[in-house]
Amino acid sequence: MRQLNQMSIYDIVLVAILSAVVFIQEQFLSFLPNVQLTIFLVVLFSRKLGILKTSLIITIHVIIDGLFTSSLGVIYTPFIFVGLITIPVTLNTIFKKVSSTIALSFLGVLYEIIYSWLFLIPFVYILHVDPVTYIIADIPFQLLLASSSFMTILLLYEPSSNLFDLLKIDKTV
């Protein structure tokens, strides 16, 4: 709470702009199934901005995306939120020392698996879908999201990280 109170106007504007970037790229790439920059962006923000600001960006994004796609509710929203919030939490704790782009790309695949498998919970317990059927049907979509997350982190993380350094955007609240 103290940290939230210490956020400057600059930080609030930064969070708002980066939330818009996450939302717009998702809509812009919606013509391609499961191809988006969201996991890459959340990995980048987690590393450069820390848990607090990244969590705020994720919260804003999940709410706006839910409102925009009419999916805001118990079936999807909590699982999207948990799936994404795992990234800043783990990258700033247990994976804090991971720094190579290739390792981060593989972590992107792990985050995609966590994100996708979380949806097994509502599909099985709320929509009563057979778990094996769901997992099999979801394999191509998971592979697509995993490969797009892997490729975007591999290609874009380093230059984007350098850009953040150049613009002096960091974890300082």
Binding site: P33, T133, P140, M151, L154
Partner: protein, 132 residues
């Protein structure tokens, strides 16, 4: 250069997986033999709008079968394949407050119209459901 090699290799592998997945997702299932299936349309309150037993033939897609046997059929092309937005007088509103969900033999379908395996004697239920 030595540092870049693994990156290029990983990138190529990921690209191949990505292209393969897109091809699998966009590939529409078609009937592998002739047969008969039942398609029923349910309103939001579970009343039956329409129910028909229809014959299908080898090579037919479910999209074709629906278009040939029902009125006011509207499909939108989506990144996940054909997306049914209207049938028998119902049209999905622009805010998606209601939509058409698919059940196969009473079980919620995890795949869209384009990926449903067309088999003899199955019942496909197209049910209007609310997002709220």
């Amino acid at each position: 250069m030595q540092q870049k090699l693994p990156k290029i290799l990983y990138f190529i592998i990921a690209l191949i997986i990505m292209i393969g997945s897109i091809l699998v997702i966009n590939n529409q299932e078609s009937a592998t033999s002739n047969g008969q299936l039942t398609i029923e349309i349910l309103a939001i309150d579970d009343t039956v709008i329409s129910s028909k037993s229809v014959n299908f033939f080898k090579g037919d897609t479910l999209k074709q079968i629906i278009e040939d046997n029902f009125d006011d059929v509207l499909f939108e092309s989506s990144s996940f394949g054909p997306y049914l937005t209207g049938i028998e007088g119902y049209v999905t509103p622009s805010d998606f407050s209601t939509y058409i969900s698919i059940y196969i033999d009473g079980v919620y379908s995890t795949v869209g119209i384009g990926q449903i395996d067309i088999r003899d004697n199955i019942t496909i239920t197209l049910k209007v459901e609310s997002n709220q």
